[in-house]
């Protein structure tokens, strides 16, 4: 029941936001977001990592066909629900300083998005998962297409159609799997785990899932929609896309691809791994020369997600645990970084590094927050990025030493583009664009402070989260290795 409440609460909050009128909308939305966070924390308190999927519910949807409206929470789901509910109120609050036309609609879309995301992370029925997977696209599409930059229509249309194109492959795979289930058929994900598929079939299913999730994350070479979309979207939508939505793809790999087609993994995992590793290096190298800060972070995010995927394809405990904790860390860092860029943009009206410089002279607080998020992003030990990157790289290294060493170049390249980003905006002589630059306001700090706390929490005491997911991950890996 709690799971259903988790999914419905943001919808309810979204509707109330819509009805509350333009003036109150953002406050109402924030309260709605915080309420969801409170509920998620309550669920976390009740949760027992050793007890498998909990708080489940199941309503017959298409009863005769065995398709049901079923959801529940295990450690993996809970981690992503916590990520979603933690970040959503911060995303809402981060938008306060800008004025968006049709405020009520704007904020309610964020909440609808939250609901769909929680649905994706908790669905235990494959078709329900698919439903939420597609539904999540709609609010963010409108956010980007209505409130985005100059090229928004062209860019968001491409993004929308392309990701649907990917999902169609998954749909075909799901329908096929559904018809393979015995008796009157069932679309419960755990039923899919029990199927005995021939290696040939597994190969097809592997690639069908791969394409769908690879486009979503995105992985090389399915990524070219992403930098444009991240750059053109209004920052709250960029945050939703990069902070949470891309995790749908990684989650999909973990929940579907690994356990359903283990021999597909065996045959094709190396190739997927190689693509992921290429993406890490490719994205990092491109990020080095970017001048638009948003685009730079977009490519960095693309590189990071490649490493997560590589960890998943290593199908090892280190890799999966690393991917999970990195999803959490990446969500926090990338949202913080996009917010910093948004703050700079709203003050200076430029996002181009060539036009910036010397901001730290007038804004020491901003530069300190920026530095900490950056350190998290370049995986400095005792920050959140390190734990994930350490586990991920060690898993890739154990899978194949050479690939591990190549993937490891990310720690060098990451510091190259991130320090350049920091230096060109914060240090050096003050540029004319940053004249009169104000340091952080109270509400901006209210967004950044929780993020920073999480940077250190995950970096210093990751056990909180590692322990949450380990039993579920071990169970999943047993399916893969059998």
């Amino acid at each position: 029941m709690l799971t259903l409440l988790l999914i419905l609460l943001p919808i309810a909050a979204g509707i109330i936001t819509l009805l509350s009128g333009e003036r109150l909308a953002k406050q109402v939305a924030l309260i709605g977001g915080l309420a969801s966070l409170g509920l998620a924390i309550f669920v976390w308190q009740q949760f027992d990592p050793m007890a498998g999927t909990q708080f489940g519910f199941k309503y017959a949807w298409l009863a005769a066909s065995g398709i049901s409206f079923a959801a529940g929470i295990d450690g993996i789901s809970l981690l992503l629900v916590l990520l979603t509910t933690f970040l959503t109120p911060l995303i809402i609050l981060s938008a306060f300083k800008n004025t968006y036309k049709s405020t009520a609609t704007f904020y309610s879309l964020i909440l609808f998005m939250e609901s769909a995301l929680i649905g994706v992370f908790t669905a235990t029925d494959a078709f329900l998962f698919y439903l939420f997977f597609e539904a999540a696209l709609i609010p963010v599409y409108f956010l980007s297409a209505v409130w985005g930059g100059e090229n928004r229509l062209k860019v968001t249309f491409k993004f929308f159609i392309y990701t649907i194109f990917g999902s169609l492959f998954m749909l075909v795979a799901l329908v096929y799997l559904y018809y393979q289930t015995p008796g009157t058929h069932s679309s419960e994900i755990t039923e899919f785990y029990r199927l005995q598929l021939t290696p040939g079939v597994q190969g097809f299913i592997f690639w069908a899932f791969f394409i769908a999730f690879a486009i979503k994350m995105p992985l090389f070479p399915f990524h070219t929609w992403q930098p444009d979309t991240y750059t053109e979207s209004p920052t709250p939508a960029t945050m939703l896309l990069s902070g949470i939505m891309l995790k749908m793809g990684v989650y999909g790999l973990i929940r579907f691809l690994l356990p359903i087609v283990p021999s597909g993994m065996e045959n094709w995992g190396l190739m997927a791994m190689i693509l992921s590793v290429i993406g890490i290096i490719y994205g990092s190298i491109i990020a080095i020369q970017q001048s638009d800060m948003k685009r730079l972070i977009a490519y960095s995010s693309f590189a990071h997600v490649g490493l997560m995927a590589a960890g998943v394809f290593s199908s090892s405990l280190n890799g999966l645990q690393g991917a999970l904790i990195q999803m959490l860390a990446h969500g926090i860092n990338v949202i913080g970084l996009f917010f910093i860029v948004d703050i700079i943009y709203s003050r200076t009206k430029t996002r181009y590094l060539d036009q910036l410089g010397g901001i730290s002279q007038t804004s020491p607080h901003l530069s300190v927050y920026f530095m900490i998020l950056l350190l998290g992003s370049v995986a400095l030990p005792l920050t959140n990025g390190f734990v994930g990157e350490f586990l991920l790289l060690s898993s890739v290294f154990q899978y194949d030493a050479i690939l591990g060493a190549i993937a490891g170049l990310t720690i060098i390249l990451g510091s190259v583009y991130m320090l350049r980003l920091f230096q060109k905006s914060m240090f050096g002589p003050k540029s004319k664009w940053v004249e009169g630059f104000q340091d952080l306001t109270a509400s901006e700090r209210a967004v950044l402070l929780p993020l920073i706390i999480m940077v250190f929490w995950i970096g210093i005491y990751p056990s909180t989260f590692l322990k949450l997911t380990e039993p579920a991950v071990s169970q999943l890996l047993q399916l893969v290795n059998n």
């Binding site: 491409k158 159609i161 392309y162 649907i164 194109f165 169609l168 070479p221 399915f222 990524h223 070219t224 929609w225 930098p227 490719y282 190298i285 491109i286 990020a287 080095i288 020369q289 405990l317 280190n318 645990q321 690393g322 730290s360 002279q361 020491p364 350190l375 400095l380 030990p381 005792l382 734990v387 350490f390 586990l391 790289l393 060690s394 290294f397 154990q398 030493a401 591990g404 060493a405 490891g408 170049l409 720690i411 060098i412 510091s415 190259v416 320090l419 350049r420 230096q423 914060m426 240090f427 050096g428 002589p429 210093i460 005491y461 990751p462 056990s463 590692l466 322990k467 380990e470 071990s474």
Partner: protein
């Protein structure tokens, strides 16, 4: 020994950092300096107490677990500390020299607007440096390793309005990260081999490996890549001379006395592994030797007082690795200690000179300073004698011990070492004479402003001078009828290694007369260089030519540091940038063609599908019939 006291050693500087870092705008300057310095001094006092306890209680190594850090499956990486001979020695150097440099900084940085920030960073550095040497496993060492790199970055770019300084800071961080990747791959190999990163477990298991086992050699080489980065060895040394952009106390503390010796610490810590991999040690020794002579040769022609000292540091670190290569772990540690004294002193002395000279660093514009800066002069002189290897000052004993071991191990490297000594003595006395002797060559304004530094700066100079003079007596060789306290103290560290590779630990076969001869050679070489430098720069009073002057080919090559920076810039930096541009413009365009095709395909099929939704019942019936026929067809035929 109480564990809570031990935790305070790194915790106090961390607290100092937090107080000064958060309150740097509101806390008055006086208080900032006191808080920052007290944190380190207290840490030093606790380190000394811990040392005494350790010796009193029979020198038993101790692991103090704090909390569970990263645990995944069978891999446990606890956050815990290890106290033994090695970590204690490092603790004392770091907090001891650290205290002196904090006190010095109160005077040196007094006029700087970033005073609070400076002390905060310095304390943060000490926190990470102490973690590095206190950790009981490789990953805790890695925390410190990367943490000191961060602080080094922040402090090199301390005056961050200057774009050049920022660039050198960034270069230092990135080059260190190249090394860090090697370290990380070493850790991964350790995990894959031993399933643990804890020193005690790894070394216990390693003892059962055979000599030259490829896995052990691989681990050693990976770790050494890390050491090359942090300790500025060929090919990863070019960041250190550039790091001189930071304030001078930073150069003394981080880029001379402590952080850059982390690589030596790492090898000594891993002595069990290295002793099992003589071929890896051979590489360590060769790299060390090459670095020692290469950097010394660059130092011969530099005219920036800090640059000379920086190349000297690179060169001295090379000596330490040369010693490690000959399995003379204790001798290298000995040199770490004496070098910490005299090199910190040289940098602080240089700082005092720069302070007096109104930020002038070019020795061609100095001269005759010994009258106006007597304390700085005397202390700088002592340090120069110490580094040149003239007895009975500290550097003589440690360098000589390294060279004696190298002589037994590899004669060619010994020759390189002696030539390096020759150069060391020359560039140091050249520096001394050009700075403190002859006539003043600066501007009138500078001359008018010349003054000896305040007590907060000269007292640390005097203390370090005393240590540089007498520090060598902790390791007097038997040949000189002394007893080597340091070697005895450190000996239990190699128990496991001694069992695994007994041949490597056999006592010296050199007779006393051979040892005297070796000592005689290195002392003679140092004295000859000093005399030559005296003749050139004092008697003939020659001054290095200005930059604009014509230089011979070889001079130009050395003066421009063999163009290594330019080489790296072209090979790595520019090519990466070009690749980045190519990938961005062509790679992305090419991939996008496929994406666009997929988008068009989807929209096109959507349009087609939409056409089937005509709304006409006739069409639907037709489609239904078609479907039924198809199903029948399928069922009947297949």
């Amino acid at each position: 020994m109480s564990a809570s006291l031990l935790i305070l050693i790194p915790l106090l500087p961390l607290i100092g950092f937090l107080i000064n870092g958060i309150g740097f705008k509101t806390i008055p300057k006086g208080a900032v300096g006191i808080i920052g310095t007290l944190a380190v001094v207290a840490s030093f006092v606790i380190s000394v107490m811990t040392f005494n306890d350790f010796v009193a209680s029979g020198s038993q190594p101790l692991v103090v677990p704090l909390f569970e850090w990263i645990t995944v499956g069978d891999l446990r990486i606890p956050f815990s500390f290890q106290i033994d001979q090695l970590s204690l020695l490092m603790l004392m150097i770091i907090t001891g020299v650290g205290s002196l440099i904090h006190i010095y900084s109160i005077g040196y940085m007094h006029h700087d607007e970033g005073f609070g920030k400076f002390f905060a960073y310095l304390n943060l550095f000490l926190f990470f440096m102490l973690l590095l040497v206190l950790g009981s496993n490789y990953v805790i060492m890695f925390i410190g390793w990367e943490g000191v790199g961060l602080c080094s970055y922040l402090l090199i770019g301390f005056w961050n309005k200057n774009t050049n300084y920022n660039n050198t800071a960034r270069k230092a961080f990135i080059m260190n990260r190249v090394g860090d990747l090697g370290f990380l791959l070493g850790i991964f190999t350790i995990i894959a081999t031993f399933g643990s990163v804890e020193y005690t477990e790894v070394f216990a298991q390693a003892s059962s490996f055979s000599l030259e086992d490829p896995v052990i050699v691989t681990i050693c080489l990976f770790l050494f890549i890390g050491a090359m980065g942090k300790s500025a060895q060929i090919p990863l040394y070019t960041w250190l001379p550039d790091a001189m952009a930071g304030p001078t106390p930073v150069s003394a503390l981080i880029h001379a006395a402590t952080m850059v010796t982390a690589g030596i610490y790492m090898v000594i810590r891993s002595n069990v592994l290295y002793s099992l991999a003589p071929s890896a040690l051979e590489i360590v020794g060769i790299i060390g030797g090459l670095t020692a002579i290469f950097a010394a040769s660059i130092g011969l022609l530099q005219n920036d007082i800090k640059k000379v000292l920086a190349y000297s540091t690179v060169s001295q670190l090379g000596y330490m690795f040369m010693g490690l290569g000959a399995m003379a772990y204790s001798a290298s540690m000995f040199h770490v200690i004496t070098h910490a004294f005299f090199k910190a002193l040289l940098f602080l002395g240089a700082g005092s000179v720069i302070h007096a000279m109104s930020d002038e660093q070019d020795i061609r514009n100095m001269g005759g300073l010994r009258k106006k800066l007597p304390i700085t002069f005397i202390t700088f002189l002592i340090a120069t004698i110490a580094i040149a290897g003239i007895p009975p000052f500290a550097g003589f004993f440690s360098k000589d011990e390294i060279l004696a071991h190298v002589f037994e191990h590899n004669k060619l490297l010994w020759v390189i070492g002696v030539i390096g000594s020759l150069m060391t003595s020359f560039y140091m006395f050249r520096l001394l004479f050009l700075t403190f002797f002859g006539n003043f060559r600066g501007t009138h304004e500078q001359e008018h402003h010349l003054h000896e530094s305040p007590a907060s700066m000269t007292i640390p100079l005097v203390i370090l001078a005393v240590l540089s003079a007498v520090g060598g007596f902790i390791g007097v060789p038997e040949a000189l009828h002394g007893s080597h306290h340091l070697a005895e103290f450190m000996s239990p560290l190699y128990d496991a290694a001694r069992q695994a590779n007994p041949a490597g630990f056999e006592p010296t076969t050199l007779s006393h007369s051979e040892e005297y001869l070796l000592m005689g050679v290195s002392v003679a070489v140092a004295l000859i260089s000093a005399v030559v430098a005296y003749v050139m720069y004092v008697q003939k009073a020659s001054v290095p030519a200005p930059d604009s002057a014509e230089k011979s080919g070889l001079q130009r090559l050395v003066y421009n540091k063999y163009y290594v920076d330019e080489l790296y810039d072209n090979v790595f930096v520019k090519s990466t940038k070009t690749l980045s541009n190519i990938l961005y413009s062509f790679g992305e365009f090419f991939i996008d063609l496929f994406v666009n095709a997929a988008v068009r395909l989807t929209s096109f099929s959507a349009k087609m599908l939409r056409k089937t939704q005509t709304g006409s019942t006739g069409d639907y019936v037709f489609a239904m019939v078609l479907g039924i026929v198809a199903i029948l067809f399928w069922k009947l035929l297949l």
